[in-house]
């Protein structure tokens, strides 16, 4: 809404600078977004909230200004010279849909000369962004800007019969509107019709056939009140948004109809001549009733934290157009103006008082607190993971929650949640995996010369489930490519290996890692197809079998994304990780630090290639020697010095007792037991 300062001053005399006025209006909720000088005038660009249709006019804004500065508000002047001929003898109004049209006023001006508007009017409309058409149409627009009530002017000669009918459209009705579009009406839309056909879309736009033209002699003026919801539905379904519909769908003033039609009729006669027929045909079948409200003094204090004086309350409300019917020691009985449909409850009145009293004048305080505070345990885990991930060199990325459906299918067999009105097919479904977004982010960096990158994202994935709302699960996704360490002059660079990723996952899982099992190549079908089958594993928990997966992405995927180097990835369900993490955290309990020294023994073994390290470790554990404190491998050898099909592996076993210093003999005995067991169970031989 644009407002001319000069025009505004016709309604309220003020002596403040335009800048000051703009600031003051903004502070009472009528936001002035722009302030532009135009000639000797200033144009204020208002950004109004949807609850304030009353400010969609100069007279309406003037009321706010008058309250702001306690300056008297002037009424618009109406000069009306009526002829003897009666309006009602020329036109009748019949409202067939009274639930959608509360009031319909009509006037007739006969014998006008339609011509371009005079020079005082044109620039005034144009400065406010309204295109001028002819003196009659311009008057309706002028009154709209002045008083806020939408009017429509018909060429009376084009109306068949002598009755205006306000009704719902029926099947197979069409209307060529003045924007030149022939519209097929949906039954139930509110229309203005003559005896044979619709002549206007009520409250939205008139028909082209009955439009005022330079040959129009007699003008039929309409000033009505239409149901906001009906106007909104029709304008939305037809994709039409007009100055009139904008106001009607927010709620026009049912009591402004007569003033507006009189003001317009007077102006038309002034500009286009002719005679104004006597009287308004005012069809007002059921004037809406609004009950007065009671405003409690105590409620103002309770809600705002400050007692506003009675004189302030009364001054603000009465200047804003509310009528104080009665005052008691408890408060006020207040009558609501029809221009303020947004004010319906006591709390709405309190807001009116608060905004003109000044939000700044209510003293700030902090509320006392008698509850507790807690953080979601999942949230705490996410914070820990984020910290560990950054320590491991991963940077956090955030990607859109929607992806391309086909791309998603490469990474998940879940049924994706489809958007009915997506921005594009590339963002057509909710993501079923974090990998597409992460890979695109990796690619973004790769294309910019960053060939080594590690990224993670913690976020939701979404999928349809049979019956019920879609499922949302929080996941951690990681991608890494390039070098394991930053390039350095001090050591040779090395690309990321499987064991780099495995080590990172171990660090990430922390105390819960010991609860996790791994499943790889031999266990068919567990690794998703988009991973390299030999370099990827599944993470298996004790509470839920499928916590996640990590490994190298299938080279086929890299080829599709045009990345010419291996890409490593991990996907972990945080919900499932949390189920392992919680018990692992609960197990945290202090163990006495050992006071006696430990003894280490190395074993260099030769075993068959298919004997995994974990078999060696579990075989040693099976010996049941409680003094074994730690087992770890330190050398792996595959090569010519060994028989084909064999590999060498060296393991350190560390022994410690909590109650004594171990003696050599004892440890040697343990060592022999282990060697024997390894030979029996795994055919392991000691390397010489």
């Amino acid at each position: 809404m644009k407002v001319s300062l000069q025009w505004l001053k016709q309604f309220v005399g003020i002596e403040v600078s335009p800048r000051q006025l703009a600031d003051d209006l903004t502070n009472v909720g009528v936001v002035v977004e722009t302030l532009e000088p135009v000639g000797s005038d200033f144009i204020l660009g208002l950004d109004l909230t949807t609850n304030r249709p009353d400010c969609l006019s100069h007279a309406g804004v003037a009321r706010e200004v008058s309250t702001l500065y306690q300056a008297p508000l002037r009424r618009p002047k109406v000069v009306l010279q009526e002829s003897r001929a009666m309006t009602r003898e020329v036109i009748a109004v019949e409202i067939k849909a009274p639930q959608l049209c509360a009031r319909y006023c009509a006037r007739v001006i006969r014998g006008v000369t339609v011509a371009p508007s005079p020079t005082w009017l044109k620039p005034r409309l144009e400065a406010l962004g309204v295109r001028t058409i002819n003196n009659v149409a311009d008057v309706t627009n002028y009154v709209l800007l002045e008083l806020g009530h939408p009017l429509h002017a018909f060429d009376l000669a084009k109306i068949e019969g002598s009755t205006i009918i306000v009704r719902e459209s029926s099947d197979q009705e069409f209307l060529l509107t003045i924007d030149g579009v022939d519209r097929k009406l949906v039954p139930g839309m509110l229309v203005i019709a003559d005896q044979s056909r619709p002549v206007a879309l009520a409250g939205i736009m008139g028909g082209a056939e009955s439009e005022i033209s330079f040959s129009t002699r007699d003008v039929l003026l309409e000033s009505a009140w239409f149901d906001p919801l009906s106007i909104r539905k029709t304008s939305k379904s037809l994709g039409m948004h007009t100055e009139a519909s904008h106001r009607f769908e927010r709620g026009a003033d049912v009591n402004a109809t007569v003033l507006a039609i009189d003001r317009a009729a007077g102006l038309i006669r002034e500009l286009a001549g002719g005679e104004i027929l006597q009287g308004v045909v005012d069809c007002y079948p059921r004037p809406p009733r609004r009950d007065p409200l009671f405003l409690r003094k105590s409620r103002i204090t309770l809600l705002m934290g400050l007692e506003v004086t009675a004189s302030d309350v009364e001054r603000i409300l009465s200047m804003l157009g509310f009528t104080i019917l009665r005052q008691t020691s408890e408060g006020w009985q207040i009558d609501l103006p029809s221009s303020r449909l947004d004010v319906q409850r006591e709390v709405d009145l309190i807001e009116e008082i608060a905004r003109h009293f000044g939000y700044a004048r209510f003293p700030s305080s902090l509320p006392s607190w008698r509850g507790s505070s807690r953080r979601q345990p999942e949230e705490a885990l996410q914070r820990i993971l984020r910290e560990r991930l950054t320590n491991l060199g991963y940077s956090e990325s955030m990607t859109y929650s929607f992806i391309d459906e086909l791309e998603g299918q490469r990474f998940s067999e879940h049924r994706a949640v489809r958007l009915l009105n997506s921005l594009s097919s590339e963002t057509g479904v909710m993501r079923v995996s974090l990998l597409p977004g992460l890979l695109r982010s990796l690619l973004h960096n790769y294309h910019r010369g960053l060939k080594s990158a590690k990224l993670f994202e913690i976020g939701k994935i979404y999928f349809e489930q049979d019956g019920g709302q879609p499922l949302e699960e929080t996941h951690l996704g990681m991608v890494a490519t390039g070098n394991a360490e930053e390039k350095s002059v001090h050591s040779a660079s090395r690309t990321i290996s499987f064991f780099d990723i495995k080590g990172e996952i171990e660090r990430l899982f922390g105390a819960s890692w010991k609860r996790i099992g791994l499943a790889g190549v031999p266990d068919d079908g567990l690794i998703p197809k988009y991973y390299h089958p030999g370099l990827s594993v599944q993470l298996i928990g004790t509470v839920t079998p499928n916590i996640g997966v990590f490994g190298q992405l299938h080279p086929e995927i890299c080829r599709e994304y045009k990345i010419k180097q291996p890409v490593w990835a991990a996907e972990i369900s945080l919900h499932h990780l949390h189920s392992e993490y919680e018990p692992a955290s609960a197990e945290k309990i202090f163990h006495e630090i050992p006071r006696f020294p430990s003894i280490e023994r190395d074993l260099s073994l030769v075993v068959a290639n298919d004997v995994t390290y974990s078999k060696i470790e579990s075989t040693i554990t099976q010996a049941g020697i409680k003094e074994i404190q730690r087992i770890f491998p330190f050398d792996l050898y595959i090569g010519e010095h060994l028989a084909p099909g064999k590999k060498g592996i060296s393991v350190t076993v560390s022994y410690q007792a909590s109650d004594r210093t171990l003696v050599e003999d004892e440890v040697n005995r343990y060592h022999e037991t282990i060697v024997r067991l390894l030979a029996e169970k795994l055919g392991a031989q000691l390397r010489t």
Partner: protein
């Protein structure tokens, strides 16, 4: 005998002055103290044969000389060791201007950093963190927040639809309702999370963004408490010098409602390009909880009052870090992420 002792002493003093290496020191030590042929060792052997009356004097002198020699050699060895160490240290240097062995460290996304800061400020004031679904029913996203169907307020938020009754939530406000349905007052919560609006991406719009919703409900919470809480938060987040302005506004789920501005952090409120010369930057929308919302969750609006606010995390991050384009937050360019 005494003469010999004096001669050996003299020759030792002269020779020991010449020592300037460990090797020399060792050979001199051998010459005088060697168990077999050492000059002093020889004297001790001779000492066994001298007359008894001379013994005490000779023995004393001989013992003194031995101690002198040992002491001197010991001190010289220390000195030589020190010299040797110093020589080694002087030759051991590095070009300290070369970069260190860096362990690559990753960076948290600025949106996460801002979210953590906001969470920490509110958690310290007794707020709990709540979560809710992103694919939300129209009931929780609109109706229960007092936004009926066909209300113009729905236009302001271009909504992504999944079905007639399911949308991608346009704000985190639905979590308010879900929490109030579960819990009775007193209540202090913040709800961080992703929100969606059908805006085509540009410098100031993103179809995906993050919001933190806040809600406090109790007996006797006032507009003053609402102002005080948000002032505390904004000063803690930006700086103590930040001034905060509350302007009347309109939201369906609060009444009275307010837009909250901070004094422009770029020009300290004097007026600049960023704040469009107004001196103020809009940061969040808020207000006292509308009694209609309490009605939806069966709270007695006569007994309880409260306030609610919604703040855009990207918006705060844009302001705090002077980021000029919201798209940076979703491109994940490492050269961007590594700045935070």
């Amino acid at each position: 005998m005494l003469k010999e002792i004096d001669a050996i002493k003299k020759s030792f003093e002269a020779e020991s002055k010449q020592i300037d290496s460990i090797d020399q020191l060792t050979s001199i030590r051998d010459k005088y103290l060697s168990r077999k042929r050492g000059l002093l060792t020889q004297l001790w052997k001779e000492f066994q044969g001298i007359p008894a009356e001379q013994r005490s004097e000779v023995g004393r002198r001989l013992g003194q000389l031995k101690i002198e020699v040992e002491d001197r050699l010991e001190r010289m060895k220390d000195e030589l060791d020190r010299q040797q160490l110093n020589a080694r240290i002087t030759s051991e240097t590095v070009d300290f201007t070369l970069p260190g062995n860096r362990r690559a460290v990753g960076h948290l996304h600025p949106v996460t950093q801002v979210r953590h800061q906001i969470e920490d400020i509110f958690c310290a004031m007794g707020y709990s963190i709540e979560d809710g679904p992103e694919i939300e029913t129209t009931y929780y996203n609109f109706e229960a927040l007092n936004i009926p169907e066909h209300h113009p307020a729905r236009d302001a938020q271009d909504t992504f639809y999944v079905s007639d009754s399911l949308v991608l939530r346009t704000h985190t406000s639905p979590v308010q309702i879900r929490t109030m349905e579960r819990q009775k007052p007193p209540l202090r919560i913040i709800c961080p999370g992703r929100c969606y609006r059908g805006d085509n991406p540009d410098a100031t719009h993103s179809p995906v963004f993050h919001q933190i919703e806040g809600l406090a409900v109790d007996e006797g919470i006032t507009f003053g408490d609402f102002k005080g809480t948000l002032e505390y938060f904004l000063k803690a987040f930006f700086s103590e010098k930040t001034r905060v302005r509350f302007r009347p506004s309109y939201f369906q789920f609060t009444e009275p409602s307010a837009e909250v501005d901070i004094s422009c952090i770029f020009c300290s409120g004097r007026g600049c390009r960023v704040c469009k010369m107004s001196g103020w930057i809009e940061v969040l929308g808020a207000g006292m909880v509308d009694p209609a919302v309490f009605a939806y969750v069966n709270y007695d609006p006569e007994k309880y009052t409260g306030f609610a606010f919604g703040v855009g995390i990207e918006r705060l991050a844009l302001i705090k870090y002077s980021v000029n384009n919201i798209q940076h937050f979703f491109e994940n360019d490492l050269r961007f992420l590594e700045q935070f």
